[in-house]
């Protein structure tokens, strides 16, 4: 969709047009869910994060400046929601063990084609999550997987560009270590 059309869609949504807001959600849902999945590594949490992010977006639509890139605003909401959910999930850790979650995910992933690929994805994200904080993961996901510029990532995370670079260094180093140690078969390039 052209940038002008997107801007018009947002303006209509700001006026309370629910059909236009539905189109905004439709337009961004895949990116939002993918980003949340890559940050959280849990399908249930990522879906919850996407729901919450769009509801928060709806509540704060009046604050969206249609003259500025919308996706940075949306990603900011997504990262904040992911951080809240990760915090809540850590608090729940005593009730719901890691093994329970893995089993739950394994069940829910059963109906998805390419089970093994999904399992590898979730395993990798979980290993990353075990060694990186939410902001570090978010910086890595936004820059390396979503393709945002460092300055845009800094704006989304509300930090300096130098901090983003520091997060990126650590995240890439960690990813390399995990791939080399846990998934050496990936290096052969399938």
């Amino acid at each position: 969709m052209a940038e002008a059309d997107e801007r018009q869609l947002l303006a209509q949504a700001q006026k309370g047009d629910l059909a236009c807001f539905a189109q905004v959600v439709e337009l961004y849902q895949a990116r939002v869910v993918a980003a949340a999945l890559r940050i959280l590594g849990d399908r249930r949490l990522a879906t919850e994060a996407a729901h919450e992010a769009f509801v928060r977006l709806y509540r704060s639509l009046h604050r969206v400046d249609t003259g500025r890139p919308f996706y940075t605003y949306l990603y900011r909401i997504v990262v904040n929601v992911c951080r809240d959910l990760a915090k809540r999930d850590r608090r729940r850790a005593g009730i719901c063990s890691w093994d329970d979650e893995t089993a739950d995910d394994a069940d829910s992933e059963a109906d998805v084609a390419g089970q093994t690929e999904s399992a590898e994805f979730f395993a990798l994200v979980r290993l990353l999550a075990g060694r990186l904080g939410v902001k570090q993961r978010a910086a890595f996901v936004l820059r390396d997987l979503e393709g945002l510029e460092v300055s845009e990532v800094a704006r989304v995370l509300g930090c300096r560009e130098s901090t983003v670079r520091s997060h990126l260094t650590l995240a890439r180093r960690t990813l390399r270590e995990i791939i080399e140690r846990e998934f050496p078969e990936f290096l052969e390039g399938r």
């Binding site: 959600v25 895949a30 869910v33 729901h51 999904s118 994805f121 390396d144």
Partner: protein, 163 residues
């Protein structure tokens, strides 16, 4: 640039995230240093493999449809507030409390704005009126007594016949 410094920057160099002059210096070093070149190659392979694996989330994400849930939650927020139910007991308690409050307010205002009037002068007026009893004249036998009062304010004479 020394190997130690170049290797510390390799991760940012791989993502083209260094400033142009530093990016050039790292590139110049990697091109001439076999050890750093090998290190960079390994890093690139690992990152590519990682990105390939992480990109699989796109397939999972494409299968999820968030709008039905978002729509339900948004509509719930838009719904007007529920009507207030009529509760007789609450209304009665409210009315009594309001009346009490009104009485208290009126009392406070009355005490503040209209100081209590002195009773003594009125009593003095009355006694003065009685003191101005002018005459008590017995009439003819069997016709009673005439009592005359002189009142100053308003000026008048009051004649009272008593059997």
């Amino acid at each position: 640039m020394k190997c130690k410094r170049a290797r510390a920057l390799l991760e940012l160099y791989a993502g083209n995230d260094l400033s142009p002059p530093v990016q050039k210096r790292v590139m110049a070093h990697v091109q001439v240093c076999a050890s750093c070149q090998a290190e960079y190659g390994q890093l690139q392979r690992a990152l590519k493999a990682g990105y390939r694996t992480l990109a699989r989330s796109d397939q999972v994400a494409a299968e999820l449809h968030v709008w039905p849930t978002v729509r339900a939650r948004v509509l719930q927020q838009r719904r007007p507030a529920p009507e207030i139910r009529f509760r007789p007991r609450a209304v009665l308690v409210g009315a009594v409390l309001s009346a009490l409050l009104l009485v208290v307010v009126l009392l406070v205002l009355d005490l503040a704005q209209f100081p209590q009037k002195e009773v003594a002068p009125r009593s003095a007026e009355l006694s003065s009126a009685i003191a101005r009893l002018s005459a008590v004249e017995p009439l003819a036998e069997g016709q009673g007594t005439m009592i005359v009062f002189m009142v100053d304010e308003p000026p008048m004479t009051v004649v009272w016949f008593v059997d």
